[in-house]
Amino acid sequence: MGDDKQLDLLQGTLDLLILKAVSLGPLHGYGVLLRIQQISGQTLVIQQGSLYPALYRLEHQGAIASDWGESDNNRKAKFYRLTTAGRMRLEEETEKWNRMVGTMGAILLAEPEGA
């Protein structure tokens, strides 16, 4: 898996990615994984082992809710969807992220003065 094109996940961003993924429609755990990889164009690696604890944590916090349903190939699966509280959190975190990216970008673009 040590492909150069793939990026390791930044700390604390997994929650945001999950929230974003389920905001596009209810997904089961494996679906969340696939969707994140798909949107990122296979550049993000998510440790499968850490996906579920993150899902349980978000559910415990009330940001997502789960229901049992049928998967595409008619198997029983647990689907996660965004709650109202989760949508608010997604907006907040997105905004925070954007500010962060802007700030980081500005810092990294800075030229040494008087050079």
């Binding site: 089961h28 494996y30 499968q48 082992g49 579920y52 349980y56 415990h60 009330g62």
Partner: protein
């Protein structure tokens, strides 16, 4: 993120644990299948695809763990583990666990028992609604502040008081003796007339039928009666069909309309009633009040308003009130608080001491066992347990022990708490019932938690810092351990000091009780009884026959003669107000030929001339009055030794003259001799008899013929050959043969039993029994603690002793080394205990109301404790001294 949703999700995880686990497993299974299919699509063989999918996801239990951690349940799971481990290790060490659980059970049980007793008799003794707002209006005579009494009021006064702004409601009652007529021997019943608001005032629903209700006040005044529970049990064998039946009282038929529940035993002020009747049936019109204050009204406010009214009543009927007095409202529990409050407080303090001693014992045992567990704790620490984690585990173990103790203790307290009510029934409100209820359970659970913390904290803090490298390498072979001993020493010393304190308290109370038991009474209480007769003064026809002095004296003497002729009766005397150990009326008297410089008081006893021979009171000098003098009543008196010695120290009392200026008719229904307040010659001096209680000095006493002043009631003292109470029925028949309607009161009492039922005596006995039991427990606990400490240290230091012996130490030296630390701490404890005791002695003596326990009691308990302590230290040390060096050196 609402807090609620988190709590809900945590709770769900806790309570539906299995199901959530299963769901996680299902979810993982789905994930693995989906992943495997994807991998197979990418061309991997099925077996390899499955392996990869599983490896990437990680194990299912790990994911389940993740869920529980997300739900904040990790702490919960770990504690559960600690709890299971604690239970297992307790199970594995039955002796250790048994001793520790029992140590705490004794303390928690005794404390819970005392708390439930206090709850039952002081905090919640009455069944009445808003009992804390019910007041007794007490009248305090300002000339004699010890005197506290009640007053009665007329109907208009009652109506006036009912209007008072500070009162929610007002109850009036009147106690009367009545007889059950119309069936064989007349039987005495205590009747209580109640104002018709009684049901609402008490707020106690009747067990059967109804209580006294406002409709009973309306004409035509149906004669109805409500029964007391005990009377119902005694007279009707608890027959549930009794409602609607007829009960004949004083020749009038009453319809039974209700039975009150067991706890209702109104009233404590003037005596519990057997039957309750509505006021409208009462002939006279005086009642004693009970007041219920409005919620929020303070006592001083109410005192001011009601006090003003009472002073107004006193102006209307000056004869019924002292000259100078003030009125004070007293919650109905106050008399009991006054009598038993200090005793209960002391007992509570002593059980807390017992609990502390039990805790100390547990701590010692845990420290001692902790020494053996250091290896285990070091391993835990070495593989990464934090200090907090180890402390928590040890605390949970001690909590398990203390809860075990609490369960046993609460069970035992159920019986222990009843003991006081059995041993001293008259000291507590008749209506109190000891039960185990929520406040008491809460109390003991809190106690168990506290005890668990107290017991576990010191050992936990101490043991949670294991010296890992040392403990791991050294296996168990250690010659040191001196440093470890320090913690015990303080606990042992403290424990011994507390034990001595408790034992000294017990010594003091037992000493006082022995004094009471052996105090000379001055009369012979065995094979004698007291019979009380109340004449029918409210029945005009019966009263006419005995209203006059001569006819009443004749009636009294006739009954005496008939009783005396009953087979088995040795002699009978009239002692109208002379039932020891509290006897006589306080009376002022004067000495002939002496200017009255000081007011002299004596206890006046109105008796027959046979009183001294029947009670077996020796006559010191002179003679007893004759039959003829007895009939006349005037001119003669006998005094007791105390009075003779105090006022005629030369020994010439006989022949002197005294008089009692106030000894004359003061109230209706009395009959007095012609010159009752005139001069009397002292014809004899009798031996001293206790007349002011068992533990107080005998007061000066004057005996005069009972015909001097007769009230409508009379007491007879009857000496018999065998058990006096076996003769009650023939005595009743003898009385009835004089007057077919005359019953004897239900308070027939064996004079020996009267002493044992005396509140002072029974309270002191109760006190001694409880204190004795508690201090015995404390002693046992302390000795077990000491014994196990020395035993443990001997076991640990076996190697060391072997070395010492091998190098030539004597057995005596080993004995000293083994017992030294514990023995020295115990000595320090004894010294500290003695110091505390001497410092608190005066305070304790005051609280215990005991002035008779000398220092000898303290000396005895100190010696006892010293001897026991020595034995507890030496027995295990002797084992150390008996070690054979070769074995000891090999000992692991």
């Amino acid at each position: 993120m609402s807090l609620w949703s988190r709590v809900r999700s945590s709770l769900r995880a806790v309570f539906r644990g299995e199901r959530t686990y299963r769901e996680v497993a299902q979810e993982m299974e789905f994930h693995v299948q989906a992943c495997t299919e994807d991998l197979m699509r990418q061309g991997l063989p099925p077996g390899e695809a499955l392996r990869r999918a599983r490896a990437e996801l990680g194990s299912v239990p790990l994911q389940q763990q993740g869920l529980r951690q997300a739900a904040g349940l990790r702490l919960f799971d770990e504690m559960g583990g600690d709890l299971r481990f604690g239970l297992r290790s307790i199970w594995k060490n039955p002796v250790f666990s048994g001793v520790t659980v029992l140590s705490l059970a004794l303390g928690i049980g005794a404390t819970t028992a005392m708390f439930s007793l206090i709850y039952a008799v002081l905090l919640h003794p009455f069944p009445y609604a808003d009992a804390d707002r019910i007041m007794n209006p007490a009248i305090f005579n300002e000339d004699n502040p010890q005197e506290r009494r009640w007053f009665a009021m007329t109907k208009p006064q009652f109506e006036l008081m009912r209007q008072a702004k500070s009162l929610e409601s007002l109850l009036g009652f009147r106690n009367m003796n009545m007889e059950i007529s119309g069936a064989g021997l007349p039987e005495d019943v205590a009747a209580v007339y109640l104002t018709e608001n009684a049901d609402a005032f008490f707020g106690v629903p009747a067990l059967l039928g109804r209580g006294i209700q406002p409709s009973d006040a309306l004409p035509p005044h149906e004669p109805v009666v409500v029964l007391n529970y005990k009377f119902w049990q005694r007279h009707y064998n608890g027959d549930a069909q009794v409602i609607g039946h007829t009960l004949q009282l004083d020749h009038v038929n009453y319809t039974i309309v209700g039975v009150m529940p067991r706890r209702f035993a109104f009233n404590d002020t003037l005596g519990t009633g057997d039957v309750y009747l509505p006021r409208s049936l009462l002939q006279g019109n005086f009642y004693t009040p009970w007041l219920k204050l409005k919620a929020g009204v303070s006592r001083p406010e109410a005192d001011a308003e009601i006090g003003q009214l009472v002073h107004q009543f006193a102006k209307e009927f000056p004869a019924r009130f002292p000259k100078k007095f003030h009125m004070q409202l007293e919650p109905i529990v106050v008399p009991y608080e006054r009598n038993t409050g200090p005793m209960l407080a002391l007992l509570f303090a002593s059980v807390l001491l017992l609990l502390l001693i039990g805790c100390a014992n547990c701590s010692i045992l845990m420290l001692a066992r902790g020494a053996a567990r250091q290896h285990e704790l070091a391993v835990r620490s070495a593989i990464g347990a934090s200090r907090w984690r180890i402390v928590r585990q040890l605390l949970i173990e001690s909590a398990v022990i203390s809860f075990g103790g609490a369960i046993l203790g609460v069970a035992a307290s159920y019986w222990l708490a009843r003991l006081p009510l059995l041993l001293s029934p008259d000291s507590f409100p008749r209506e109190s019932v000891v039960t185990i209820n929520l406040p008491i359970l809460g109390f003991s659970v809190a106690l168990a938690l506290l005890a668990g913390m107290a017991v576990g904290l010191a050992p936990a803090l101490r043991l949670s810092r294991p010296d890992v490298s040392h403990a791991m390498q050294a296996s168990l072979r250690s010659a040191g351990g001196r440093r470890r001993g320090r913690a015990y020493q303080y606990v042992i010393a403290g424990q011994i000091a507390l034990t001595l304190l408790l034992m000294a308290g017990a010594g003091m109370t037992i000493g006082t009780f022995l004094y009471l038991m052996h105090a000379p009474l001055g009369y012979e209480p065995r094979h004698a009884m007291n019979v009380h007769i109340v004449m029918h003064w409210s029945d005009a026809k019966a009263w006419d026959a005995i209203k006059l002095r001569e006819s009443r004296a004749a009636f009294i003497d006739q009954m005496r003669q008939r009783m005396a002729s009953v087979p088995g009766v040795v002699s009978v005397t009239v002692g109208a107000n002379a039932l020891p150990p509290y006897s006589g009326w306080e009376q002022a008297w004067e000495m002939d030929g002496k200017v009255d410089d000081e007011a002299k008081q004596a206890r006046l006893h109105l008796t027959g001339s046979e009183y001294f021979s029947t009670m077996q009171i020796p006559l010191v000098s002179g003679r007893v009055w004759s039959e003829a003098e007895n009939a006349r009543g005037d001119g003669v008196a006998v005094i007791n030794e105390t009075m003779a010695r105090r006022y005629w120290p030369a020994g010439n009392a006989v022949g002197q003259r005294i008089r009692m200026p106030d000894l004359k008719l003061t109230a209706p229904l009395e009959a007095a001799s012609a010159n009752s307040s005139g001069w009397r010659e002292i014809v004899g001096v009798a031996g001293d008899v206790r007349n002011d209680g068992l533990d107080r000095p005998v007061l000066p006493a004057i005996y005069t013929p009972y015909t001097t002043l007769m009230t409508p009631e009379v007491r007879y003292q009857i000496r018999t050959q065998g058990d006096p109470l076996a003769l009650v029925r023939p005595v009743r028949e003898a009385v009835q043969s004089v007057n077919a309607d005359q019953q004897i009161a239900n308070d027939v009492v064996d004079l020996q039993a009267a002493i044992e039922r005396d509140p002072q005596w029974s309270r002191q006995r109760l006190f001694s029994v409880l204190f004795g039991v508690f201090s015995g427990m404390a002693l046992a606990l302390a000795l077990v603690g000491l014994f196990s400490v020395v035993s443990y240290s001997v076991a640990q230091r076996t190697n060391e002793f072997g070395v010492r012996l091998a190098l030539g130490a004597g057995r005596g030296h080993i004995l000293w080394v083994a017992a030294r630390t514990a023995a020295l701490s115990a000595c320090a404890g004894i010294v500290a205990g003695l110091a505390a005791n001497l410092a608190m002695r005066r305070l304790l003596a005051h609280w215990m109301n005991s002035n008779h326990a000398g220092l000898s009691g303290l000396a005895v308990v100190t010696l006892l404790l010293g001897a026991c302590t020595l034995a507890a230290c030496l027995l295990p040390a002797l084992r150390a001294a008996a070690i054979r060096p070769v074995e000891a050196l090999r000992y692991e």
